[in-house]
Every structure is written in structure tokens, then in C-alpha cells.
Amino acid sequence: MKKTFVQTFVIFSIFSLLVAPCFGEALQAFEGQEGTIKIAGGTAHIPVMKEAAKRIMTRYKDILITVAGGGSGLGIKQVGEGLVDIGNSGRKPKPEEIEKYKLKMFKWAIDGVGVVVNPTNKVQSLTKDQLKDIFSGKIDNWLVLGGVKHAITVYTRDEASGTRAVFWEKALDKENISTKALFVPSNGAMKTAVANDPYAIGYVSVGHMDETVAPVALDGVTPTLDTVKGGQYKIARGLYSNTKSDPSGLTRLFINYLFSPEGQKIASEKGFIPVK
């Protein structure tokens, strides 16, 4: 009787020790905590934020995490003004922003910004000059590039977007974007817009790319996770979560969670390159 009990106990303990990492010791840090974390900013970060929030909130009912978009500019501004606890940005905060808000930056993943077109589009490779001409409006029909005879619909993001800032600086070399370009408010919206419009061209976070859109090779290099990681695709940026001066309490725990093995795994599952 006693022997069976001991046996069961040993087996159970070994089993739980094997299973425990699945629950993630990172989550354990939140044990006994309660409160709210408000997150806003970069739209590229949203899938990771939502997944992390979901895991934490499912396990610990007393914690509430709200996630909003709005773009990198909004994230930096709102965390600086104290309206949110964590402000995400898809670009590195500028020195004057860091100075003004006493920001502390945490880069937990690397992402690329790639050009995308609708999967039905035959044109899936461009040179940088062609790209600049398309976005500025000089080339305005797909026929010129070997595609169907239809006007090119350019999609772009608003000024607050970090994705836009990186794309404009590194892919367009700071050239103008046509005033006829249609505006979409987030990476997710850009993906949906391009997926639904056969004549569209836009730019989106590499992490957001899936089979509903087709990546466009720039000067021969296709934007994928590997080419960004390997450095061949040069249009890349870090994903930052910023806080106002040193984070504490729940916010600190959340940032730690992003850097934990589990958090980094979420990042890579969502299509980004973890830093660790």
C-alpha cells in the first residue's frame, strides 16, 4: 500500500516537473498580482501584445491588460504623457522624444518592412528606383511593369506610423509619396486592403505577412524572416516597448515577460525575430 503510494508520488512529481516548463515560469512571476496595464502604440506589436495579454489574463483573473493601436508616434506620446503604461513603437524613439519623456526603451524583437502586392499580381519583383517611382506616382499603371492594364493603387500609412517612417527613410530614400495614395490606419489594415485589391501595392511589417499577400522582392531580395535575420534585406527595425523612466510593478513584470523564453517564443510565432 505504502509502496504504491510512494511510486505514484514519485511518478507524479517527475511528471509535474516535466510539465511545469509548459506552464512557463515566466507567468509565475505574475502570481498574486493585480491591477491594470495599459498598452498602446505600434500596430505591428499588436499580435504579440494580444497573445501575451491573453495568456496572462487567462491565468490571473485579477490582472487586466488593455491593448490599443494608433501607431508608434501615438505610443511614444501617450506613454510620455502618462496615459498608458507601455507605449509600443516600431521605430527607435528620437533623441528629443527620449529627452522630453525620459523614456526607457526595450527592444524585444526585430522586424522587417516589406512591400506587398495582391497574390494575383504578376509583378512580384521591383528595383528600388521602380519602387520610388510607383510610390511617388510617376509610374501609375501596372502595364508599364509587365502586369495587367489597370491603374496602380498605392496604399500608405499615416504620419504616426513607425512602419511608414522606416519605409520612407530606408526604402524610398525619403522621397515623396503620391498625394493620391489611400491611407490605412494599421499594419493589419494594410494587409487586409492589399489582400482585397488586385491592383494594390503597399508596405507592411514582415511579421504580418501571410499567404493573403505576396511579398515583393526589392533589388532581388525577398523580405522574409530569414533574409531580415541574415541581413540581406536591409529594411528592418526593432520593435520597442517604451516606458516612462524605469518601469515598476506590473509593467516591469510584463516587460520581463516579453524577454522571457515564453515571450520570445510568442514573438517568433507571430513572425518576428526574437532578440534572445
Binding site: 508616434g73 506620446k77 491603374a151 504620419e159 498625394t179 491592383y199
Partner: protein, 285 residues
């Protein structure tokens, strides 16, 4: 004791009314207060007539004013024949049962949320326009069409009301002289109801000018002023919804308050015009 209660009650009621009325002025005041930095920093004229290019320091809202006017005027123009026809049928041409059904239908339409019109518009109308007519699909035409449907109940009910409020003695006199239904409608009722109908058009136009979601979802939000029906555009309302994300102290952000001022003035002008017309014509409202 009773007297005190009376006086208190009267004052409470009065204050409520004043509080509500003060809101109107407060709204305008906030807009001006928060929009002032933009006026101070830039050329006053440039704000109303210049292009929108924040990274070059240009904060003109003319493209948005233009977009608003294009879409709202198109919507009103498309809505007018629709509403005229339907109100003619409801007031004169249809059988009583049909009229009742149509009336219920139109009243039902007023309850349809704007966002749902936009949702269906994105997935049903935009591809149709893009493939069937041309252009990016999200343009002035698409937004104008859906907006026309949105404001039609307002116009129809207003037209119907005006037509039915025509003094019945005129209509009966015409009937006695041998006029049939159509003739009574066209030559007696409509001429006497033009005041009310004008008011209805202005009201619908005001509603079209102030709508946010349709233009936000269907017109593309490009920063240029549109020059053709198939070009994308941005309205003042959509601009406010899009730019709220910017830096609070930046001039870009201040522009949304200027947009708010313009919208406020448009709406007030429309309301005042309607009140003047209705009062002049003495159409019972």
C-alpha cells in the same frame, strides 16, 4: 414651504436648460481655444486654402474641405431624385397599404447604424466600382452613393411631411375642378411645399457634411483634393478620426480642431437656414 419648492423647481428646470445650451457654446469655445496655436503659427489664409503636407510643414485643410463638399454634394444630388420619387409615391401615387409599408420601411431605415452601411459598402460596393467602373474602388463615388442611401430617409420623411401638410382645402379645390391624383400632386401640393422640401434638402446636406464613418471607410482618405468622381478623398470628419493619433502639441494635431470649427460652422449655417426657411413659409413643424 410650497412656494419655496416651486421656486427651486423652476430654477432647477431653468438651469438645466441653460446648462444644455451652454454646451453648444462650450464646444465651440474648446475648438477655438485648442485650434489657436495653428492660427498663430501658420499663415491664416494658408490653413484654409493650402495643401496638407505635415512633413513639409504645410497644414492646409483645403483638401479636406474639398473632399467633404464633393462627397456631401454628390450624396445630396443622388438622394434628391430618390427621395422625390419615393415621397411622391407615399403621398399620392401608391395605394394606402403600400404607402403604409413604404412608410414603415423608411422609418426602419433610420434605425440602421451608419457603421453597418460602411461595412456592407466595403465588401459589396467597393469591388463592384473597382472592377465595373474603374479606379481604386474607394473613392468619392462609392462614398457618395452609400451616403445618399443613408440620408434618404431623412429627406423622404421631410418631403412626405411637407407634402401632406399642404392645406387640404387647396387639394380639394383642385379635385373639385377635375384634377387627378398626379395633377393634384404636381400642380398643387409640390409648389406649396417647396419651402419644406428646401428645408429637407438642406437638412440632409447638413447630415451628409457631418457624417464620419462612410467617408472614413469608403473614400480612401487620400490627402489630395479630389478632381474626379473616381478619385479618393478625405473629408474633414475622417481627418479628425485619423489624426487624433498624433502628438498633442504638434500643429498637425491642432488641425483637427480647425476642422472641427469648419464643421461646426457648416452645421450651424445649415440649421439656421432651415429655421429661417421654415419660419418664412410657416410650414407647421
Amino acid at each position: 414651504m410650497n412656494n419655496a419648492k416651486e421656486i427651486i423647481a423652476k430654477n432647477v428646470f431653468f438651469l438645466s436648460a441653460v446648462a444644455s445650451a451652454v454646451m453648444i457654446l462650450a464646444i465651440f469655445g474648446f475648438m477655438i481655444a485648442l485650434g489657436i496655436p495653428l492660427f498663430k503659427a501658420g499663415n491664416f489664409l494658408a490653413i484654409w486654402t493650402g495643401p496638407w503636407a505635415p512633413h513639409e510643414g504645410l497644414y492646409g485643410i483645403w483638401p479636406m474641405i474639398s473632399g467633404t463638399l464633393w462627397i456631401a454634394l454628390l450624396a445630396t444630388a443622388l438622394c434628391l431624385p430618390l427621395s422625390l420619387g419615393t415621397s411622391f409615391v407615399i403621398t399620392s401615387l401608391g395605394s394606402p397599404r403600400l404607402c403604409k409599408m413604404l412608410g414603415t420601411l423608411v422609418r426602419f431605415m433610420t434605425g440602421i447604424p451608419t457603421v453597418i452601411y460602411g461595412f456592407v459598402g466595403i465588401f459589396l460596393l467597393v469591388p463592384l466600382v473597382r472592377e465595373g467602373i474603374g479606379g481604386p474602388g474607394m473613392c468619392v463615388l462609392t462614398a457618395g452613393m452609400v451616403l445618399a442611401i443613408l440620408i434618404s430617409p431623412t429627406m423622404i420623411l421631410f418631403f412626405t411631411n411637407s407634402l401632406l401638410s399642404v392645406d387640404v382645402s387647396y387639394v380639394q379645390a383642385a379635385k373639385a375642378l377635375g384634377a387627378n391624383r398626379v395633377q393634384r400632386l404636381l400642380y398643387v401640393m409640390v409648389p406649396r411645399a417647396t419651402g419644406g422640401m428646401a428645408a429637407g434638402i438642406i437638412l440632409a446636406l447638413g447630415r451628409a457634411l457631418g457624417d464620419t464613418l462612410i467617408a472614413l471607410m469608403l473614400a480612401g482618405n487620400a490627402i489630395q483634393a479630389p478632381h474626379a468622381l473616381l478619385e479618393p478623398a478625405r473629408t474633414l470628419t475622417a481627418h479628425i478620426a485619423l489624426v487624433k493619433a498624433a502628438d498633442f502639441d504638434s500643429l498637425e494635431f491642432r488641425s483637427i480642431f480647425v476642422c472641427g470649427i469648419v464643421l461646426y460652422l457648416f452645421a450651424t449655417a445649415a440649421t439656421v437656414a432651415v429655421r429661417l426657411i421654415l419660419r418664412k413659409r410657416e410650414v407647421p413643424t
